[in-house]
């Protein structure tokens, strides 16, 4: 678009648009900021009535998030004075840290299940997408639609038989079970997205390689994969975001062993009542990786969230 175009917005229009968009952005970011700042409030500031905007920042929420505490009497406290800064934060509230909390484990589960299922769905998805893109597969369109339609099922609807199936296979509440489940859910996304990316790689590259004596498989590995690297990376991140944030399956099918963070964070209960600073701290920590990816992926964002239907 040339800057002298007759259709270009005028400076005034740009200002007007800018102000409106910034206004919306500020409103929309406010709850998010509230979450982040709540993580740095003390429990009493968090539920201050009326709400407090100015407060003394503390790491109490983060300490509570990562530790299990129990109430101790003043005498016991005098006997065992706090040794570290986090012991001190707990001691200020008459508490003593008795060990790490479950959050670390849940977060680790999220990482294992998130990355495990992402790897698997991208791996299988790349293979399938390549086949759909390059070969005449009988009933191709039907198969592709079938793959997409698996995404339309409400998770609760298939949760019952999956629950029964996992129970009989011993996959209930296991990492493997959740990885397979999330992989299956993500496959539709990864096949559709990657097919789009691979469609864009000119066939000629492979054909040249074939003519050079590469086998089909070698051509796939040495020519197509490097070309599709960006597409694979962004597909991976979208799969990860889904697996990272998923709640319904996690809450229904996992408990102690393989539960991820999303069902856990809303249920962080402090000594008395819901520990909002700890919940906020958990939400913030949990958001950071996804936020980083979002910013890195700005360009491919749209393609990812629309199953490749919009390529911009």
């Amino acid at each position: 678009m040339s800057s002298y175009s007759i259709t270009a917005p005028t400076t005034a229009q740009k200002w007007g648009a800018g102000i409106l968009v910034v206004l919306y952005a500020v409103i929309t970011i406010l709850p998010l900021l509230w979450i982040v700042t709540t993580g740095f409030k003390s429990q009493n500031d968090a539920i201050a009535y009326p709400p407090s905007v100015l407060f003394e920042p503390t790491l109490e929420g983060y300490v509570n998030l990562f530790t299990t505490q129990t109430r101790i009497s003043d005498e016991e406290l005098a006997e065992n004075p706090p040794e570290t800064w986090y012991d001190e934060i707990a001691a200020d509230r008459g508490m003593s840290i008795v060990g790490p909390s479950r959050f670390g484990g849940r977060f680790l589960n999220s990482v294992i299940i998130g990355f495990g299922s992402t790897f698997l769905s991208v791996f299988l998805g790349t293979l399938a997408a390549y086949a759909f893109s390059r070969y005449k597969v009988p009933l191709k369109d039907d198969l592709l639609f079938f793959i997409l339609s698996t995404r339309m099922m409400p998770p609760i609807a298939v949760a019952i038989p999956i629950f029964l199936m996992f129970r009989s296979l011993g996959l209930s509440d296991t990492h493997l079970g959740m990885i397979l489940l999330y992989t299956a859910v993500n496959l539709s996304l990864s096949v559709w997205l990657l097919k789009g990316f691979i469609d864009e790689i000119p066939r000629e590259y492979e054909e040249a390689a074939l003519i050079d004596g590469y086998t089909r498989f070698q051509a796939f590995v040495k020519v197509v994969l490097p070309q599709a690297a960006t597409g694979i990376a962004s597909t991976a991140i979208f799969c990860l975001i889904f697996a990272w944030n998923e709640y319904a399956f996690a809450v229904l099918l996992t408990s102690g062993n393989a539960q991820t963070a999303p069902p856990f964070i809303p249920t962080i209960i402090g000594v008395t009542g819901q520990d909002w600073p700890a919940v906020a701290a958990g939400a913030t920590i949990f958001l950071v990786p996804v936020m980083v990816f979002t910013i890195l992926l700005r360009k491919h964002l749209l393609r990812g969230i629309t199953f490749g239907a919009v390529r911009k």
Binding site: T38, A128, I160, Y247, P266, L301
Partner: protein
């Protein structure tokens, strides 16, 4: 003829093109390695297998269970085949129709509001003011949160006395923040879930609209400008029709997602007050995992799946027609 001379390897693309076209398919197939068909199936099979195992097999199982009175928590009871009785019970249950109504209300308003705000935002951002990229990224952030965590935290934001929402609304309208409760009032609760979903997912619609707007060639507007068409007319005759397929796509995705809506709302209102925000997924979860009426819940699940699948198929047909135009 399996190998070309080394200089050919660096031929220009057009040359490769020609060679490739000149290679008869039969010859290409004979090239070393597995036959194409075998590779295709080896590549597709794991995906299909996994989907069959984790999606289709459970679905078939659900259909089977839906004709029984099986209950997971009564391992000692004998399972009886009761035909279509579960379906009959569901379709004649007025409470379930109420959850459908609640779902319809939620679907309609989230989509309507998100389309309106999302399109407006995209249109504004497309003016490409300075910093528009930065602000777009900011707007997109809520979408990246875990819906369950969002729902949970919004119960806090909605608390009339100590929450942010009422305080802000009170500040701008002068109303007493404690004079209304978003999730406690029967009339406001359905809107409280619409607001949170809109907060979270408007950026999604916005991004798709933005893609649509950017796909419109500048030359069309230039031509219209030459014909002295008014801005207003340009908007309705060029912008809207050309963005429409994109917008419809956004509606499809939001529709499917919100039909399945569970996590955000269950955390936010728990389906209350009364059953005001009990969406079908929440009701289904109660039947399946609290009452443990497995057979009944299976029939319920099948009805939901058929509904969403049917609606989506019809919609996709309509979408394709719009695209063709």
């Amino acid at each position: 003829m399996t190998r070309k001379s080394s200089e050919d390897r660096f031929m220009s693309e057009t040359a490769i093109d020609r060679v490739a076209q000149a290679t008869p398919p039969r010859v290409a197939r004979r090239i070393r390695g597995l036959p194409d068909r075998a590779i295709a199936w080896i590549f597709i099979a794991p995906t299909i297998f996994l989907l069959l195992a984790v999606n289709i097999f459970p679905l078939v199982w659900t259909i089977r269970l839906s004709f029984t009175d099986y209950r997971v928590n009564r391992p000692n009871n004998e399972v009886e085949w009761i035909g279509l009785r579960n379906y009959e019970r569901i379709l004649t249950d007025s409470d379930i129709w109420k959850t459908m109504q609640a779902t319809a209300h939620f679907l309609f308003w989230t989509i309507a509001i998100q389309v309106l705000i999302g399109f407006t935002l995209a249109w504004l951002i497309n003016k490409k003011f300075r910093g528009s990229n930065f602000w777009t990224t900011v707007i997109v952030l809520p979408m990246m949160l875990s819906p369950a965590v969002v729902g949970n935290f919004w119960t806090f934001l909605y608390q009339p006395q100590i929450g942010l929402f009422n305080t802000v609304v009170g500040f701008f309208t002068g109303a007493d923040p404690a004079s209304f409760s978003m999730i406690g009032d029967v009339n406001l609760a359905p809107w409280s879930i619409v607001i949170v979903d809109t907060w979270m997912w408007t950026p999604f619609v916005m991004l798709i609209c933005l893609a649509g707007l950017r796909s419109i060639p500048e030359s069309i507007y230039e031509a219209a400008e030459c014909d002295r068409a008014s801005k207003w007319r340009q908007f309705w005759t060029i912008t809207v029709p050309l963005v429409l397929p994109f917008l419809m796509l956004a509606v499809l995705f939001r529709g499917i997602e919100n039909f399945k809506m569970f996590d955000l709302v269950v955390q936010l209102t728990g389906g209350g007050p009364g059953n005001t925000t009990t969406l079908t997924s929440i009701d289904l979860k109660r039947e399946a995992f609290e009452r443990w009426r497995t057979g009944f819940a299976s029939a319920y699940a099948i009805i939901l799946f058929v509904t969403v699948f049917g609606l989506a198929s019809i919609y996709v047909k309509a979408l394709n027609k719009v695209k063709e135009r």
